[in-house]
């Protein structure tokens, strides 16, 4: 297991405490802090755009969890995550 380095964790308007992605409610936005998953899953998620500091919005909670990458793409990119993975992605909730 590897943990992604925290890159610029203290963003303005975002909570300082990192919580699992699954704690976001629908429509709420946040910024990725790190991913605590197997290293190959971790690199894959980063390459897919779930990199530290990427801003996201929750579209659907549960199985699967659907988020959209809001920064840098106007919300056009959606990623579906099995609950197992989603609960390992840590985020800072936008306030």
């Amino acid at each position: 297991m590897t943990t992604m380095p925290i890159h610029n964790a203290s963003m303005p308007k975002a909570s300082r405490k990192a919580v699992p992605l699954t704690q976001l409610s629908r429509g709420q936005r946040g910024r990725i802090d790190c991913t605590d998953a197997a290293s190959e899953d971790c690199s894959m998620l980063r390459a897919m755009g779930l990199r530290p500091d990427a801003s996201i919005q929750m579209c659907r909670l549960g199985e699967p969890c659907i988020i959209s990458l809001t920064g840098g793409c106007g919300g056009g990119c959606r990623i579906g995550l099995a609950k197992d993975i989603a609960s390992r992605v840590m985020i800072h909730i936008d306030e």
């Binding site: 380095p5 899953d41 980063r46 390459a47 990458l69 840098g72 793409c73 106007g74 959606r78 579906g80």
Partner: protein, 662 residues
Amino acid sequence: MPTTSSDSQTASTRRTIAVLGNPNVGKTTLFNRIAGIRAKTSNFPGTTQEARVAHVELNASPDDPIESILIDLPGIYSLDLDLSESKICADVLAGTAAPVGEEAHTPDALLVVIDATNLMRNLTIVGESIAKRLPTVVAVNMIDAARRRGIYIDAAKFAECLGCSVVLCSARTGEGVDELTAALSHAKIPDRSAPTDQSGIERWSEDVYALVSMPTEHLADDTLTDRLDRAFTHPVLGMLSFVAIMTGLFWMIFKLASYPMDWIDLWFGAVGSWAGSLIPPGAIHDLMVDGVIAGVGGTVIFLPQICLLFFLLALLEGSGYLARAAFVIDRALRPFGLSGHAFVPLLSSHACAIPGIMAARAIPDKRDRLATILVAPFMSCTARIPVYVLLTTILFPYRPLYQALAFTMCYALGIFAGLFTSLLFRRTILRGKSRPMALELPSYRLPDLKSALLLTFDRGMVFLKKAGTLILAISIVLWWLGAYPHSGPTDAAIELRAQAEALVDPEQAETLLAQADSLDTRNAAANSFLGRIGGTFQPMFAPLGYDRQLTVGVLASFAAREVFVSTMAVQVAGSDDVEDDTVLESIANATNDDGSRIFTYATSWSLLFFYVLASLCLPTLVVTAKEAGGWKWATLQLGWMSLLAYTSALAAYQFIIAAGGS
């Protein structure tokens, strides 16, 4: 002077252009727009990855065409991921790999296709590409969709940041494509570079993004997408819509394919009679009519179903629905140790296990992939349909409802056996949970008809090639084994013919002559190599209720399952040129030499179980060995499926006999 694609330029002067990009960026649509139908699909040697390759002329100016080879590489998120598609792309860029038929050398140019609506994420692959120091052009695709979302991209500034040409385009509308082909013929090595480590490249892409795009957090209205996503992935609604869409898909496959299948059947029938009348009777005549034409015709008849399946799947994939369906199926398959990635392979296996197993390439986790490959042949393929039709008709004559129920039971039994197999293997030899899914959900859009048609054409050609080579060879061998050594007329037949000659009534004489022919055919079948093989193996199948002729039918099915029906027809009727329904009836009523029926109630059930579960397909085993990475997997598949088939058929037969059935 414009040149044609003749050999005015040698292969060494052709420029190789590798096309690289993330999945779902419209890379293949752009490739198809540039290459048209001239592309072919090739494998990378020793791997299961494939690429589309096209020889095209790119016009720097109308009078100056440059012959180029375009290679559409698999879609990847990064060149550095530990995935086979990422490795193959990195090898192509390094000049150490090329698709079959192409020379491996460093590409002369690189076309990086990126999605304008998702720029920042796509910059990772751009950064990795420009670090390769190859002449590069970046195509910012889907610019029309980006404009609709209010995204602005400054192409000039972007080109300045990268140090290479950047073209804004839309593969869908054709906007910017001419400009892109012109840029490709003048591609130059970028005079800027990007960091090579992941964190560095992420920071670099943020900087580039901030410079070339309006740094906006503007969100387009995605209410409809949100609603559709929630419906299609909902535990109940998602499953219901999945069942409805798949039922529609199969209904269309079976309904629409029946017309071209009839035409193909008629065409091969006509070719058979034409060839039969042209070639004088003898071994060559029989080889051509009974071996080559019947064998290939019996396989090509499934072409419409296979083409329709791939076409409709391509449309569904293009619409964006399949990625959502994968999550619905993931929920259902996970308890059995399979992931949602197994959905397309298992669905395709309902047409034919071979494309199904090949589709398992896309499953990222090795154990998930192996489990899917081992399970795929349990899905009822179209080759089983003729056998199911025969056996359900024999079991429930003139009762279509019962026939339909038995038919459905066959499909359900195959799926159940597959899930049970996966569960067993994932707890023993492939221990471990299936890898949780993380999948990009592409935007809902109207599917690209041209791309779907090109893919269908490709898959159809692969199937036809198989029919023209492997299946043709197997048909010839089977025909030879069944036709030789020749046996002379039997004493009983000679006597019957003598009686017929003595008769005055021509109708009675004809009946006797037909009986004599039938006796001779049976005798020839029993004495042929195939008949002798059947006799040798019959004791093994006796507990399942199979006689020598059924044993031959089962053994012949190893070439292809549907061969069972034609083999039985040849054996029991002594003639295979009768109309279909008559063939079915003659098989159903066929008797042994001692007058007892071959297809009893118990035998038919036993055969049905056997055909649902048995691995009766040599080509599937070959593909399993290739895709799973060794004959041990194919042997395991054959052994396990045979064990399940034999014990189930044995149990069915003995249970019915013990319960007082016949």
